[in-house]
Each structure stands twice: as C-alpha cells, then as structure tokens.
C-alpha cells in the first residue's frame, strides 16, 4: 500500500544449478506486473508459482523468518550481498527499490567454504563448525550464580550486544573479495571477549576459532571493509581488529 502503486516489468537473470556437481548457468526470466510493495522474495515466490504451473522446477533459495533475523536468506543481487540497501536483508528488500524495466542479476553466495547445494542455496555449515570450535562459554546447565552477581558495564554490555547481533547469514563472506569469514568470527569472539563470562577461555577460544576458520578454506582478510558495508546488522570491523589483537596476544602468551 505504499505510495508507488505502478506495477513494474522486471528482467531477471538467475543462477540455476541442479546440485553441487552441476556446472550451472544463468537463466533469463521476464516478469510482468511486479508490485513495488512485494519483497524481493515474494517476487521470487510469484515467479516460482508460475514455474510450477508450467511444470518446471522452481528456483531453490533459502529463507525462513522473512523479517531479517534468522539469517537464512542470502542472494547476491546485482553484484551486492543482500542487494543495494544498507543494513537490509534480502527478505526485507522491497521491489520499490528497483525501477520499471530493470535487469536484476541474482546469484548465490560464492565461496569455496560455501558450496552451492542447488540454484541459489548454499551450504553454510562451515559457520556452525567455527562456532563448535569455541564460540561458547563452557558452562553446563545447572545452578550458576545469581545473574546480578556479575555486573557488566553498560558500555561493554552494549558493545557485546552490537557484536552478538550477527545473524550468521554469510553476507560478509559473500561480499569480501577474499571470501574471508573474519567479520562473522570476530563478532562472536568479540561478544565473548567483552564479557567477564568469556574471559577464562578467551585465549583458547580465539585460537581455535581462527584455526578452524582457516582450515575450512575461507580467505585471508585484507581489511577491505566490504563485509561491514554489506552486513545487514551493521557489524563493525573494529571487531576484526579486536580479534586480531586478541589472537596476537594469545599466540604470544598462551600456554596451550
């Protein structure tokens, strides 16, 4: 019900790939009557329904919450991770940000560590492996001390929350020219480094998580900051610096 009610015609170029082994190719689709109030994913829904009616295989893409929090949606849209809007996930991007007659190129995230499963869907389980390598506080369920026994300065709590806002979408990897996962990893490392609960294992954590990241085939960060610019949650690269610092410190002093 926005102000712009003119429906649009869109030319889509979409990446199609049957499975991991398929070579894949770009496929063209013309779409008429695209409402500017549709979200980008709703536009793909409409296309998919049309494909199904024609007996064709719909385009596979990841999505779930459609409100910018689950981190499931992805897509390189016109060469930008999550499309042209800053701090906006693909599911929150609306067609009114495009113009009638536009050609839109849609591709999956591309990185060695994120193999394409089908069409626009990729496997991001590498992120889970990195978290499993140390992205936690080693505390079991039980009877920890009262929550208020551990005062945390508001400043640090806020910084930790800034870092914790990461939704694990992988746009940082997708947009980085080196396919580096530094922003994602540093967000978790920073969150726990900023809180007293995370101190005990801080050295071990940063080393294991970085080693795991390297092992999984992500690239090396060269401080491009495209990740920060593409991150739908505005995670700051100062987190990367913090992780660099902690890693250096840990490498020099840690006994383990």
């Amino acid at each position: 019900m926005g102000n712009n009610t003119q429906s649009m015609n869109i030319h889509l170029k979409v990446w199609r790939q049957k499975d991991r082994l398929d070579k894949g190719n770009m496929e063209d689709h013309k779409m008429d009557n695209v409402s500017p109030d549709m979200s980008f994913l709703e536009m793909l829904d409409v296309l998919n329904e049309k494909l199904v009616r024609e007996g064709k295989d719909p385009i596979a893409f990841d999505h779930d919450c459609r409100e910018g929090i689950c981190g499931m949606c992805s897509l390189m849209i016109n060469g930008q991770a999550h499309g042209p809007e800053s701090e906006t996930t693909t599911c929150q991007l609306h067609m009114r940000k495009f113009k009638n007659g536009d050609t839109i190129v849609v591709e999956p995230w591309r990185a060695r560590a994120f193999p394409v499963e089908k069409d626009l869907m990729v496997d991001r389980s590498a992120f889970d492996e990195i978290i499993a390598a140390g992205g936690f506080v080693n505390v079991n369920t039980g009877n920890p001390q009262d929550a208020n026994c551990l005062p945390i300065s508001k400043e640090n709590a806020d910084l930790a929350m800034d870092a914790a806002a990461c939704i694990g979408c992988g746009a940082c990897v997708a947009s980085c020219k080196n396919a580096s996962a530094m922003l994602f990893v540093s967000a978790k490392v920073s969150q726990l480094a900023l809180l007293p609960q995370g101190q005990v294992e801080a050295e071990e954590r940063v080393q294991s998580m970085v080693n795991k990241m390297d092992e999984l085939g992500f690239g090396n960060c060269t401080n491009e900051a495209e990740c920060e610019a593409s991150c739908p949650k505005g995670i700051n690269i100062s987190n990367i610096a913090r992780m660099n610092r902690d890693f250096l410190k840990a490498s020099i002093v840690s006994k383990s």
């Binding site: 049957k18 919450c65 459609r66 689950c70 906006t88 936690f136 506080v137 930790a160 609960q197």
Partner: protein
C-alpha cells in the same frame, strides 16, 4: 472407543513443594549408565536446543534434528520482546507467586496450575543460566540487569536484549549445544524434516526423516524422542511465523496415537503490519510496546475516504479508549484484536484494502517531541517504513491483527511426556502452560524451562523406571520398515498427482477458511461450515495439487505440499475443537458466549478442562478426551478491563 478422563500426573502436596518433592522422588540414571541411552531431539528452537545441550551435558547421546541449514535459525530467533522471570530486581513487589498468578489468570484459567507454578519457579534459574552463557541482556549504568514491563503486566519483570531477545536466548542455547557437538555428545542433523514417529511395543523409539538436500528418507532409532518443533500458526497461511514453521512433526505423532490438546487456542496479535496484496507471504509483528504511546482509531463514518491527517478529531473514533476507559489502548491482546476486527467488519477499516486500523503517534509526538518518540520506537518505525513505504512520524501506522502463537499442542502430563511412553513434547509444540491465552514474554520462558530444567529430570525418570534400553531396537525393525514405506509412498503420491493448482493455492484457500471461521471470532454455523469446506479442500488437494520435480534432490515444492497436507487435517481438528468448546476463553471467542458488553464469557462449569483429541483414522471422527482442571490456589474470576 470411549472418551477417557486423562491424568496429568500432578504430584501431591502443596503447590510450592510439588516440583521439589517430585524431583526427589524421581528415579535417577547412574552417571556411568547415561551414555547407554540415545535420545532424539527434533527441533533446535529454545526448547530443543536447551534440551539437547542439557541432556548431552548429563551424558546422554543426543541426535538433534532441524529443518534449517543451521540450528541457530529456529523460529525462536524472531522473538523480540523479552523473557519473564520473577527476580524482583526492581523491588516492585514481584514474586514467584505473582508470576504464577498472572500466568494462570492471563491464560484465562485454562492451564494446569502445577505446571504454571513450576514454570514461575524455574524462571529465575533461566536468567542466571543465560547470563552465565554470555547472553548480553540489557543493563543499566551500574552494570546490573535492566527490566521492563511488558504485555500489560503491573510489574517490571521482563528481561530483554534490545528488540532481539529471542535471538540472544537462542544463540545462547545454540552455543551450549555446539559445545556438546564439539565434544561429540550431540550429533547434528540439519536440513532434515521429520516425516514420522516410529513406535515399537507402544513406546516411541525413533523417527523417519527426509534429508532435504538429497531427498533420502532416513531412519533413526533411540530410547526416547523429544519433539520441540514449535507452533502451528501457519495453518492460517499468513501468520507471524517463519515460512518453515509447520505442524507436521506433531501431527504425525498425533496420527501415531499422541493426543492433540486444545488445538483451537490460537493467539492473534493485535499490532501487525496489514496484508497488502495477494502475493503476501507472511506478516510482520510490530512490538506490542507501541500501544504504550500510539492511539488506536478508525473514522467514525463508514465511507470516510479522507487521508488520515485530514480527518478532524470529532470524526475519529478512538474505540479502545472509548470502550475501556481504564485500560484504554493497553487492553490485552485478544481484546485489542477482536475490537479491530469489529471496526473493520463495520466497514470502518482504513487503507486501500479497508482491512486495517490506525495506530497514531501524532499526540505522542506533540506531547514528547519527535526525538523522544524516535528514541523509544525508532527501530520499529524504520522497519515499518521499509515494509510499507509510509513514514509513521507523518502519517498514522496502519495495523491489523495476525496469527502469532498457538497455545494448543500435543497433550503432555506434568513430566512433559505425551500419552505415548517415551515421547516427550517441549516448547510451543506442547499445550501445557499458557492455557487459552499466552502472556507476552512467557513463551521464551517456557521453552527454556522445559529444555533446561524440566525434561532433563523427567526423562531420566523415564529411563530409570521404564528401562527402554533393555529392548534393543534397530532401524531394521519392521516398524521402521513400515513407517519408512508409508512416508515414501506419501511423497510419491504427492508427486504423481500432477494436477492444476499449486500447493500455495491450496494453502491460501485453507488460510482464508481458517481466518474467516476459526479466527478471532467463532460461531457454531461458521465452524460447521469450516469443517465441511476444509474436508472438500482436502479432497481436492489430493486430486488436483501440482508438485513438480523429483524426490531425489532439493524440492521445496514437495516439502511445502507435504506440510500443507498435514495443515489441512489439523485445520479441521481446530474447527472441531472450537465447535465443541461452547464457551469463550482467552484466544478462543465464541460469539454465542459473550456478556452484554460483548466481552468473552467463560463457562467454568462445563469447560474448565483440557480437550485432548485422539486420532481415529482418516475417515473417522476423532475422540475428545478431557483432563479436568482444578484450581486450588487461584480463584476463578471473569476478566474485566473496563
């Protein structure tokens, strides 16, 4: 088959001591023996992730399943507002008892008292546990935890992490879970959809899943199965739930014998962004806190087509303030929702579709200034503008209620065990703690309570007393064979129909029926109509649905069709349950049962019970069992917000 009186297995004794005594009376599994037990946990939301982590820490071998590509994406991630606990940090008179009381009352006296008391009791531990995990709750300048009042509560007991509390709690539980994954105590199975529950000798012993990537149908055996698969709000097609939220896991368990309790209790949230077209795929919630400063209104006259800002004060109807002078815009969710519907039904709806009401911040901005309003609601205003392209600082927001939460679910006893031995149900998937209406910030509390602090004890008791591990069951058992075949046949049948309408077409139709007749206000005639229309739709679905592709790789259409097939059956049961419950309570409003002032009227004499439905086969009507609810600690009163 006749209807039964169900026993909730609530322990004896005063309510304050029940849980502690029960914990003591429950049998324990020897620490060295725990590793002999295998547990399947389906779902990685707050309930599933916290249960999987806690059980693995105890030493059980856990297999954890979820549909998404990572456990961190479960729908709990979307919860915004906060989580309740009776810490009484603000010193405003909160207590376990008050939290218990508020929750029972909020649930309109349709929840099991003992469960709710336990929930209130363990809520404080949840906050401690989450802080220990590094969840960055909001804090004040002294470094202590901040609280806010939420959902009309009279005390500030809600803990929050910006507008992303669900995300932070889930990431905490997820990290606890990944810690156990790294130790090898949890085996993760992502992109798996549970297709069936497998029972051997009357006990839950395994599941059948579909690997969404390869299409392979897989079998997993264990000594117990925990279903933590969330709610079924997507039966309405449009809801605030995530796209993959579904009822299938619970429904298949139901078809294997698990009772489905109170399916008609659905919560409709009053402040959501309205539908704007046929292509709409889901609805977005706008936090309830907006009603603290926004004023809800519609034009007084039916065909007032003026722009909202051109409508003068005397032509506006601030209907909530008019009807409920003492609570005004802050009436509970169900009341606010029903009144919005009423305004729209009277033809006073606004916007291009006419299905919305205004939520106006003009007066708040005039009173406090734009900056103050922006500081409180800036994020929400931005989100609203991103979706609707309207600037809420300039023109009033348009809002309308949307399906948000389902209080009903699989029936469980005090131990969270369903009527099937070895099948435990946690989180939104069970029916237990919210009665007929859930209070804000209570679902997160319940999911984590179930997973961290209840199931780990009660499951141990089951293992120690029933000793399921002594009957060896492998995935070669004939029961697995049969369930596997059934699942495969069903998928193949869906693929073979090759009709003319898409799955979404059917889902949208189902949603329309549900919203119309089993939505905010229900009546006998409408519900009967719904039942027959859903039956028809189901028949057509199985004749005319078109599912393309194959069963041997990623096939999102097949996944959807498989879920919609179950929604069609559940939808019918919801209508049936609503029809049988001839009273209004909480989220269930029967037009036949209202006061002179059009408010909900409970019938405690006839309906102070849980209705738990038993599946009887495709073409046989289900059986309605009841569990009587007794209220020994809270006096039943009629809610009033006048």
């Amino acid at each position: 088959m006749t209807t039964k009186k169900l026993d909730g297995k609530v322990p004896e004794g005063p309510i304050q001591e029940k849980w502690d005594k029960h914990k003591f009376n429950m049998k324990l599994v020897n620490p060295a023996n725990k590793r002999k037990f295998n547990v399947i946990v389906v779902g990685t939301g707050l309930a599933g992730a916290s249960a999987a982590a806690s059980l693995a820490e105890l030493g059980y071998n856990v297999q954890s399943f979820c549909i998404q590509d990572s456990p961190r994406r479960a729908h709990s991630i979307a919860a915004q507002g906060g989580v309740n606990a009776a810490k009484n940090y603000p010193n405003d008179g909160d207590s376990v008892w008050r939290l218990f009381y508020d929750t029972v009352k909020g649930g309109d006296y349709r929840a099991r008292e003992a469960n709710v008391y336990r929930l209130a009791q363990v809520a404080n531990n949840i906050i401690d546990q989450c802080v220990a995990q590094g969840v960055p709750f909001a804090r004040d300048y002294g470094g202590f935890l901040a609280n806010r009042s939420f959902g009309g509560a009279q005390v500030s007991r809600t803990f929050y992490a910006r507008g992303q509390t669900g995300q932070q709690l889930l990431l905490g539980a997820y990290s606890a879970m990944m810690k156990e994954v790294s130790k090898g105590k949890i085996k993760l199975y992502t992109r798996r959809e549970m297709l069936d529950l497998v029972m051997v000798n009357g006990k839950a012993r395994g599941i059948i899943t579909r690997n969404v990537v390869t299409g392979e149908i897989e079998r997993y055996a264990a000594d117990a199965v925990l279903l933590c698969t969330g709610g079924y709000g997507n039966v309405y097609f449009l809801s605030t739930n995530a796209m993959a939220s579904n009822c299938s896991a619970a429904w298949r368990a139901h078809k294997r014998g698990a009772y489905f309790a109170n399916p008609c209790y659905t919560q409709i949230h009053p402040t959501c962004i309205p539908v704007h077209g046929d292509h709409q795929s889901k609805l977005t919630l706008m936090s309830e806190s907006l009603r603290n400063d926004g004023r809800v209104w519609v034009p007084k006259n039916q065909d007032d087509k003026r722009a909202p800002n051109d409508i003068p004060e005397e032509d506006r109807d601030y209907y909530l303030e008019r009807k409920y002078p003492s609570f005004g815009n802050l009436v509970p969710r169900d009341v606010a929702s029903r009144n919005a519907k009423q305004a729209v039904d009277e033809g006073k709806g606004v916007g291009s579709t006419g299905v919305a009401v205004y939520l106006d911040f003009r007066d708040a901005i005039k009173r406090d200034g734009k900056d103050v309003v922006a500081a409180k609601y800036g994020n929400l205003f931005d989100m609203y503008e991103r979706i609707t392209d309207d600037d809420p600082y300039q023109v009033p927001m348009r809002i309308y209620p949307a399906v948000h939460y389902t209080m009903g679910g699989l029936w469980v006893d005090y131990n969270l065990q369903s009527n099937i031995p070895g099948l435990f149900v946690l989180g939104e998937a069970n029916f237990s703690d919210h009665g007929a209406n859930r209070l804000g910030a209570s679902a997160l509390m319940q999911g984590l309570a179930d997973g961290y602090f209840v199931a780990p004890y009660t499951l141990g008791n089951y293992f120690a007393s029933e000793k399921p591990e002594q009957e060896k069951v492998t995935t070669d058992a004939p029961e697995f064979e049969a369930a596997h075949k059934e699942s495969r046949d069903k998928l193949e049948r869906l693929l073979s129909i090759n009709g003319s309408r898409t799955t979404d077409d059917f889902h949208r139709d189902l949603g329309k029926i549900m919203w119309e007749y089993v939505g905010m206000a229900r009546n006998e005639e409408g519900l009967k109509k719904a039942i027959s229309e859903i039956k028809n739709l189901k028949e057509q679905f199985w004749k005319d649905v078109k599912v393309t592709g194959t069963n041997t790789n990623i096939n999102t259409e097949l996944e959807k069709a498989n879920r919609v097939a179950d929604f069609l059956e559940l939808g019918e049961l919801m209508a049936r349950d609503a029809l049988e419950r001839r009273e209004s309570c909480g989220g269930h409003f029967r037009e036949e049962s209202q006061t002179e002032e059009n408010e909900a009227k409970r019938d405690d004499e006839n309906f102070a019970h849980v209705a738990a439905w038993e599946w009887q086969g495709e073409d046989t009507e289900p059986l309605r069992h009841v569990e009587e609810l007794s209220f020994e600690n809270v006096a039943l009163t009629q809610r009033s917000y006048k």
